[in-house]
């Protein structure tokens, strides 16, 4: 793939979007709030990568990270994200809101999976640049509502940050567990393995945020997926939006009104 790394077919579509038309999967409410925050949607941008995930023989007797799988899961998502950012860049966007990351396994795809990143590229209406401190369009998985609310707090998104860890949890644990049947107790090696794996995923995400000089991460969440490796191998994926404070001026956040809605 050439300088831009984007498959050639993306070009024609993006050119059309430059002439003022936009496409977006934002809801009407999200659209109005993104506008309220001072941004106009430019178009749906996406990135995709079909990635073959190498097999890794592990020592099934001990709990350990499957480093090769972790790398594959990270690199493939990174490629998809990068291509989405490049599409946004081609549109002259300041950022991408409502980013969704998805993994798809196809019937014909053996040990491969498609990694997809989709979001709506936006541009500031005041003509100023809102790109992040890396000079790239900011990315965020916040909804339009959350994006507007965040801008009210004096913070602004830098980038969607993530960390992943594919972890194998020892088979031997099961034997021990069975041996202990009949009494309640903690499966300590399970607990420890889950702890380690989650810590690794979260730490990697935090490292990304630190690398961006972020003030913090909002909307952080941890996803656990088995994908296609059976129940002992789990991917722990940590995701969130790294944010930074804009300026030093004090911000007064409007006092919210409390309501009880009558909707069912």
């Amino acid at each position: 793939m050439t300088t831009s790394d984007l498959p050639k077919d993306a070009g024609a579509r993006l050119q059309e979007l430059e002439h003022g038309m936009f496409t977006s999967d934002l809801s009407v409410n999200e659209f109005l709030l993104v506008k309220r925050a001072g941004f106009h949607p430019l178009g749906l941008v996406m990135g995709s990568s079909i990635y073959h995930i190498g097999l890794q023989k592990g020592n099934w007797g001990s709990s350990q990270e499957m480093t090769k799988l972790s790398e594959a899961m990270y690199n493939a998502r990174e490629l998809a994200m990068k291509r989405m950012e490049e599409e946004a860049d081609q549109l002259g966007a300041d950022g991408v809101v409502g980013v969704r990351l998805d993994v798809k396994f196809y019937e014909w795809g053996n040990d491969s999976a498609e990694f997809i990143a989709v979001g709506t590229a936006v541009k500031a209406e005041d003509g100023r640049s809102y790109r992040n401190n890396q000079g790239k369009p900011f990315t965020s998985d916040l909804s339009g509502q959350d994006f507007w609310t965040l801008t009210q707090t004096g913070y602004f998104p830098l980038a969607l940050v993530m960390g992943t860890c594919v972890y194998h949890i020892a088979h031997r644990g099961i034997g021990q567990a069975l041996g202990q049947m009949g009494r309640n107790g903690e499966l300590e090696n399970f607990t420890q393995a889950m702890y380690d794996a989650r810590e690794l995923a979260m730490k990697r995400m935090q490292d990304e945020a630190t690398g961006l000089a972020a003030a913090g991460v909002v909307g952080m969440r941890l996803e656990e997926k088995n994908h296609m490796w059976g129940e002992h191998t789990i991917e722990f994926l940590s995701l969130g939006t790294a944010v930074a404070r804009v300026g030093n001026a004090p911000v007064s956040i409007p006092q919210p009104t409390t309501i009880i809605s009558f909707d069912n």
Partner: protein, 293 residues
């Protein structure tokens, strides 16, 4: 001891206790109908919202289009499944035109809350649309104040609520738009293509094939937006899926409502931050403790 006159005895015998609504309801009981009838898939809340912008529902309109896909179209090959792409765009277009004709015939301004049903089977593509035709509100206070006059009826799959909120900001729906792309996965198996099963590596030809197909679906919907004169597309439904009867085919379908800023400028709504005090529904299943989930 229970009160023999009933728990609401006090209230029942004092009409003064009736609220404004209760008094209206009591008057309405047995009163004659003064309106003209209409049928609509909108909720009453949505009907009231439409009234707030000067519109009223007229009736439900529906359109059905079904187009052919010749036998053999799904045999594993390369590139697009062109018969399926074409069957989708024809059926979508036919249904859309039929909907507009139905709406025009009853003098409606447009159709809101269109429910779109897409059904693919090996030999045909079925598109069914159903929505509520709306017209300028005629009864009540001084006629219509809906600010836009459409040359031909608009169509939109936004809910009446979204339609009202959007129009108050100056944006209006123009038409339903859609694009689809059905593509064959590259023929060679992944393992065969590589011979190196232990490696992490991107399958660039696969990436390019799917990328191209997805871009094509988006390209088609953009052409459709330009065709109907829209400048944007909101609340787009973008569906990636495998075809149940042809596992080697990946489908991309995008559809939604093309919109346009018809007012001079975008009007920001006045926003109020609220904290709902409703409790989320919290469930707890004891079976989850047994690991039997």
């Amino acid at each position: 001891m229970t009160d023999p006159a009933g728990p609401f005895a006090d209230r029942a015998h004092r009409e003064a206790d009736l609220g404004e609504v209760g008094r209206l309801l009591a008057e309405a009981h047995g009163a004659a109908d003064i309106g003209r009838g209409c049928t609509s898939n909108l909720s009453l809340d949505e009907v009231l919202l439409l009234h707030a912008v000067g519109l009223e529902p007229a009736t439900v309109v529906t359109a059905t289009a079904c187009t052919t896909i010749p036998p053999g179209s799904w045999t594993w090959s390369t590139g697009q499944v062109q018969a399926a792409d074409y069957a989708f765009s024809r059926a979508f277009l036919l249904a859309r035109n039929q909907m507009r004709a139905e709406a025009a015939q009853i003098g409606a301004m447009g159709v809101v809350a269109v429910d779109i049903e897409l059904q693919l089977s090996p030999h045909r593509y079925l598109v069914v649309m159903l929505g509520t035709a709306v017209r300028a509100a005629s009864d009540g206070h001084g006629g219509s104040h809906f600010p836009v006059r459409y040359p031909s009826p608009f169509l939109c799959d936004l809910s009446a609520r979204d339609f009202v909120v959007l129009s108050r900001s100056g944006w209006y729906p123009i038409d339903l738009v859609g694009g689809a792309s059905y593509v064959h996965a590259p023929r060679r198996g992944v393992g065969a293509a590589l011979g190196q099963v232990r490696q992490n590596v991107e399958l660039t030809n696969f990436t390019e094939t799917l990328y191209a197909a997805r871009e094509l679906a988006m390209q088609r919907i953009q052409e459709d937006i330009a065709e109907v004169g829209g400048t944007g597309l909101l609340d787009m439904r973008f569906v990636d899926e495998t075809v149940p009867f042809a596992g080697h085919v990946v489908a991309f379908r995008a559809y939604g409502t093309a919109v346009k800023l018809l007012a001079d400028t975008h009007t920001h709504p006045d926003l109020q931050l609220v904290v709902p005090l409703d409790d989320p529904v919290v469930g707890f299943e004891a079976t989850s403790l047994d690991g039997q989930r």
